[in-house]
Subunit: 141 residues, 2 copies
DNA sequence: CTAGGGCTTCCACTGCGCTGGAAGGTCAAG
DNA sequence: CTTGACCTTCCAGCGCAGTGGAAGCCCTAG
C-alpha cells in the first residue's frame, strides 16, 4: 500500500511516517517504479508497536534501540524489561518531584491570603512568591 | 557590581544573566564607560524572585508577564494567584497522567514473566509491549 | 489536455531555557 | 609591554517529536 493508506490505517500523518523512517523506527519500504513508497502489512504492526512503546513512555531513540537489538540478537526481552524498570524509576522520581512542587504551590496559595500588599517591595516583584521556595526547578524530562 | 560578581552572588552564570535580560525578566542595567554592565542590589533581589518563581513552576514568559503587570498596574497579586491556581491544576493533571503511566508500565513489567519468547513475531518487535497499551503519550508540558 | 490529489525531496521551524564559541574591547598586575 | 581575567556582541545549537511549506513528479478522471 502507499503511504497515504498506511497513514489512514494507523492514524498517523504521512509526514510522521516519513519522519519515523528517518528516525530509524520504521524500515525503508520497497519503492514502486514511480518512486512511491510501497508498504506491506508488517508496517502496520511495526507502527502499532511504535505507538504502544511511545505510550509506555519510551523515546524514539529507545524504540530504535529495541528494534536494533531485536534485529541483531533475537528477542530483546531483557533489554525491554531493563528499559521499563528504568522508566518506572524515572516516573517515580518525577511523580515525587511534581507532588512536592504541588505542595509548595499550595503552600504559596494559602499563605497569600495572610499578606499585606503594601509590604511588597518593587525589586522583589511580588511577595506571594518569596525567595525561599523549597522545590527545585522541575526537569522537563 | 559587574556581571561576574552578580553571577557569583546569585549562583547563575553570566550567560544566563544576559539571557534573562534578553528574555525580559531582568531590566537592562546601567553601563560603565567601558560598556560593562553595572548592577545595583535590586538585581540580586530580582534574580532571587526569578529563581523562586521558576522553582514554583512558572515559565520565563509568565515571570515576565508578572513583572510587566507589577510595573504597569501595581501589585500583581491576583494575576499571580491565578497563575498559581492554573499551575496547580496542570500539576494535578500531569501527576495523574504519570501515575496512570506508572501503573501501565508496572502492568507490562509483571505480565512479562508470563510470556513465551517463542511467540514473539518479528514485525511486532517485542510482545512485552503489546499494541493495546492504554495510557496516551505524556505531553511534555 | 487539464485539473486534482497523491506522492517525492529538502530545508526550516516550533517551544523552552539555556549553553558554547568566536572575535574583539577593557583593565589591573607584573 | 604583555599577560590574563573579565567583559562585549552575535550567531549557532541542544533535545525531542514532529509540522509546514516549496518545488516538482505521477496518475487518473473528465
Amino acid at each position: 500500500m502507499r503511504i497515504g493508506q498506511l497513514a489512514a490505517r494507523t492514524g498517523l500523518t504521512t509526514k510522521t511516517i516519513r519522519f519515523y523512517e528517518s528516525a530509524g523506527v520504521l524500515p525503508a519500504p520497497a519503492r514502486r517504479p514511480s518512486g512511491y513508497r510501497d508498504y506491506d502489512e508488517d508496517a502496520v504492526d511495526r507502527l502499532a508497536f511504535v505507538k504502544a512503546a511511545q505510550a509506555a513512555g519510551l523515546s524514539l531513540a529507545e524504540i530504535r534501540e529495541i528494534i536494533t537489538v531485536r534485529a541483531s540478537s533475537g528477542a530483546p526481552c531483557q533489554h525491554v524489561l531493563a528499559l521499563l524498570d528504568s522508566h518506572a524509576a524515572d516516573l517515580d522520581r518525577r511523580i515525587a518531584e511534581l507532588t512536592a512542587l504541588r505542595a509548595d504551590v499550595e503552600r504559596l496559595r494559602s499563605r497569600a491570603g495572610t499578606l499585606d500588599p503594601a509590604t511588597c517591595s518593587p525589586a522583589a516583584v511580588c511577595q506571594v512568591i518569596p525567595a525561599d521556595v523549597v522545590a527545585q526547578p522541575v526537569p522537563t524530562t
